[in-house]
């Protein structure tokens, strides 16, 4: 795995967010890695518990919006335990290819074991990769998805540029990520849930309240719908649109490379 190293002394002092904390950019990847090493074993169970199973509907909508065809090449970035990869693998068929990429070795291992146990083999490859420096040729993928992963990336602009590079002309990027609720009462209820209940559930099930506190904080620090759309446009994506789901708690952004 290639980690992006700061180029000069001054960039070593550059900071970024890790939840509500401000940390040096060079530290964030390690801190995020620690979080995911810790939660990997209970990741799927916690996803179901935390979202009451609704994350399956969000992912289903993402698949429906992907427009993936037989024989295409798909990159499931920050693919974790491979929920999207399993479906894409069946949709692209034997002539297609799906790459499940994740920066975290524990998550990648969980995903690989899970998919092999499900019989998802043949057209799936596993790559440990940093989204900021994707180890693939230019114009390689027909579709890239990054589901609940972008907010953990240290340099989001760099990651979007990297995705743009490896995407074929005509290809599309789908970013499924927590966002900003559109209704104020929902926003308050959501805050109460994520800062008070979620860490307790994390403690109870995964014996790790801190990681789930980070999850809640990182969601608040992530760009809202319009900001992310502008970031995608800046990276070169065109016809960028977003769809709010569950009142804006989650948004699916879609952009094309022409």
């Amino acid at each position: 795995m290639e980690q992006v190293k700061p180029m000069a002394d001054e960039s070593q002092q550059e900071t970024t967010h890790f939840g509500f904390q401000t940390v040096a950019k060079s530290e964030k990847a390690d801190k995020v890695a620690d979080v995911f090493h810790s939660v990997a074993a209970k990741y799927d169970l916690m996803n179901d518990l935390m979202s009451f199973g609704i994350h399956r509907i969000w992912k289903r909508f993402t698949i429906d919006s992907s427009g993936v065809r037989r024989g295409q090449r798909v990159l499931d970035l920050a693919g974790g335990t491979g929920d999207l990869t399993a479906k894409f693998s069946r949709l692209v068929g034997d002539t297609g290819q799906v790459v499940l990429a994740d920066i975290n070795s524990s998550m990648l291992k969980m995903g690989r074991d899970k998919l092999r146990n499900l019989g998802v083999v043949g057209n799936v490859s596993y790559v440990q990769a940093n989204a900021e420096a994707l180890p693939f040729p230019d114009n390689y993928f027909d579709c890239i998805t990054i589901s609940f992963g972008l907010r953990n990336v240290t340099d989001k602009e760099k990651a979007l540029a990297s995705m743009f590079r490896v995407l074929k002309p005509g290809g599309r990027l789908l970013v499924l990520e927590f966002s900003k609720p559109v209704l104020d009462p929902l926003s308050k209820a959501y805050d109460a849930y994520s800062f008070h209940i979620l860490p307790r559930v994390g403690q109870l099930v995964a014996q790790d309240a801190e990681s789930y506190r980070y999850l809640a904080e990182s969601i608040r620090m992530h760009p809202d719908q319009e900001t992310l759309k502008a970031m995608m446009n800046d990276a070169g994506f065109e016809n960028t649109t977003y769809y709010n789901m569950t009142g804006g708690i989650v948004a699916l952004h879609r952009g094309f490379k022409f």
């Binding site: 698949i63 429906d64 993936v68 069946r90 998802v120 709010n244």
Partner: protein
């Protein structure tokens, strides 16, 4: 967010439980592997796309690639697909329009025809065979009783309205009234024809 992902999720779960759990259906499933069947229902704005693979059936609401077979029909016709023998008559009557490879819908129909729907089978892993069979039979008996009770209540209500309170006509009265109206219509037609004949003279 639209309701479509909920519909596709529900349908996918139900069809996979029904068609992909039973090993005896493997041969029938195998004939559909790699095929794509699109169902366009008049009641839904989005199609339901069934993508068959070795491990499971995926249901999508959007499919940009070509489909091996497209079926255009109504929701009420779907249960009839279980009977393979009815396919031809459904197509002839126009209830079912098929575009593309007819064999795909025939194979799908054969697969769902072979699948058995026994609620006890789904309960058995949780509560055991004997208890599951007992619960299933009790539920079926309760359903039969409930249906009978609803039919009886409907009959009582009908009789109260027509016989006791006389606020609505009974079935026989309605039939007699319809016949009288028909007879009057026929007389009126005959009279109109006769008048026309007389006017012509």
């Amino acid at each position: 967010m639209r309701l479509t992902p909920l519909i596709t999720a529900g349908l996918e779960t139900a069809l996979n439980r029904m068609l992909y759990r039973d090993r005896s259906l493997k041969a029938a499933r195998q004939r559909l592997v790699g095929q794509v069947l699109t169902l366009r229902l008049e009641e839904l704005s989005h199609p339901l796309v069934l993508v068959f693979s070795e491990q499971q059936l995926d249901v999508l609401s959007d499919w940009q690639d070509s489909s091996d077979c497209t079926v255009i029909t109504q929701l009420k016709t779907l249960p009839k697909l279980r009977d393979r023998q009815q396919l031809t008559s459904l197509i002839r009557s126009g209830e079912l329009q098929v575009e593309g490879d007819l064999q795909v819908v025939q194979r799908f129909s054969a697969l769902i025809d072979l699948a058995e729907l026994d609620p006890a089978e789904y309960l058995a892993p949780w509560i055991g065979d004997i208890a599951a069979q007992g619960v299933s039979q009790a539920a079926q008996r309760a359903l039969r009783l409930l249906r009978g009770e609803v039919a009886r209540r409907q009959d009582y209500l009908g009789q109260t309205l027509t016989e006791e309170w006389r606020v609505a006509p009974g079935a026989l009265e309605l039939a007699w009234f319809s016949e009288e109206v028909d007879a009057m219509e026929r007389s009126l037609d005959a009279l109109t024809a006769r008048l026309a004949q007389l006017e012509a003279k």
